[in-house]
């Protein structure tokens, strides 16, 4: 399926704005946690993943930043060289990297969620 560049840029701007919002919520939630210094303890991290709304927030941060970041990288790399193999190569690379990062991060969230 071929996207127009304007459609890709709409996704880029939307994910950028949405990422700004969800990361802000994430930071606020972290700051409101009383034991901020202990937040990286194993039990606390697992507890966070057991909290379903918070897990959804983390998943959305992962998806939004992966899409926005890798599309940004694609745009930067597009300006380096102008030939079809390079353009197709970086498009395939960035799509594969986005999917891989989202799949690996989602797996981490699900595994942590299932841990007792």
């Amino acid at each position: 399926m071929m996207f127009k560049e304007s459609q890709i840029m709409k996704i880029h701007y939307t994910t950028g704005l949405a990422a700004l919002f969800v990361v802000a919520v994430h930071i606020i939630v972290r700051l409101m946690t009383p034991s901020f210094s202990l937040s990286l303890l194993y039990e606390n991290v697992i507890n966070n993943y057991h909290n379903i709304p918070y897990s959804i927030l983390l998943e959305s941060i992962l998806i939004l930043i992966a899409i926005h970041g890798f599309n940004g990288l694609r745009i930067i790399l597009l300006e380096l060289r102008q030939n079809k193999p390079w353009e197709d190569g970086i498009t395939i690379f960035t799509i594969a990297a986005t999917i891989s990062i989202i799949a690996y991060g989602t797996r981490t969230i699900l595994v942590a969620n299932w841990l007792g």
């Binding site: 304007s6 840029m9 745009i75 300006e79 102008q82 353009e87």
Partner: protein, 282 residues
């Protein structure tokens, strides 16, 4: 009508103020007797090594950089290659980097420049041919891609007795008027940082012309133009550095045209008149 007259008067007043400021600022500079003209010399076809040649030029009042170059060509070295034609900033032929900034040589007075040395180099982002002459083929190709003409299927051009007329309101004209002042001198293309890295990028001139015809109510080729600019190396690669608007000798704001066209592609920009008013002198 009254509004237009009022607008013209305001622009005149602003331009007069600008001219007076320029004259006051350059009063000390006009007294120079001689300047050193550094001219970039190289012939790409003969693989010449680039060098800078110095010429002593006697300065006269109101002398432009083009006058200085022509003096050097006439009396000091006839082999200097320069492209020029109208000498009044209408043809856009004599674009070059003057002291590092893309300018029209015929529109740059020596009295406006600081110091006693003037450096003339060929425009950046254009393939070099010889001395101050560059190749505009790629630039004009990008321009042609935007279909820079009014196309209308309803126009009756076959029957001369029944010529069609397309009426436009002054507001319709205001939407694109400033972009129609473009003389295709290539200064914006030379100043654009995106063109410097991405040769497939159409550049500010072509993109602003795409907007100029897109905004023209007489034209019906809008979709073709939007498709032409909506590619991997199209309008989205503009970084909005704004250097194109800064160097334009005709007061065109290509960066504004690019942003307005982007807005149309995104489907939210329908406020050209409001934006145009923001640029009005108050």
């Amino acid at each position: 009508m009254n509004q237009i007259i009022k607008k013209i008067r305001m622009l005149e007043k602003k331009n007069n103020q600008k001219d007076m400021t320029k004259i006051n600022n350059t009063k000390a500079e006009t007294s120079r007797q001689m300047v050193v003209l550094n001219v970039y010399r190289a012939n790409t076809h003969r693989n010449d090594l680039p060098r800078v040649e110095k010429f002593q030029i006697p300065v006269q009042r109101w002398m432009t950089v083009l006058d200085a170059l022509l003096f050097a060509k006439s009396y000091l070295d006839s082999s200097i290659a320069i492209r020029y034609s109208c000498r009044m900033a209408s043809c856009g032929s004599c674009g070059m980097k003057i002291n590092g900034v893309p300018k029209l040589a015929c529109y740059t007075k020596i009295s406006e420049l600081q110091g006693n040395t003037i450096t003339c180099e060929p425009l950046s982002n254009f393939p070099h041919i010889r001395d101050l002459v560059t190749d505009f083929s790629q630039f004009f190709e990008h321009h042609k891609e935007m279909a820079p003409f009014i196309h209308n299927n309803n126009a009756d051009i076959k029957d001369e007795n029944k010529l069609s007329e397309f009426k436009q309101t002054p507001q319709d004209v205001d939407n694109y008027l400033q972009f129609s002042y473009c003389i295709k001198c290539g200064l914006c293309y030379s100043a654009c940082p995106t063109v410097a890295t991405d040769t497939k990028f159409p550049g500010p001139q072509a993109l602003s012309q795409a907007y100029r015809y897109y905004a023209d109510t007489r034209d019906d080729l809008s979709n073709r133009r939007l498709n032409a600019v909506d590619g991997k190396h199209g309008i989205w690669r503009c970084h909005f550095a704004g250097s194109c608007s800064k160097v334009c000798p005709k007061g065109v704001d290509p960066a504004l045209g690019i942003q307005l066209l982007r807005g149309h592609i995104m489907g939210y920009s329908r406020n050209e008149n409001k934006i145009a008013k923001l640029r009005d002198p108050t």
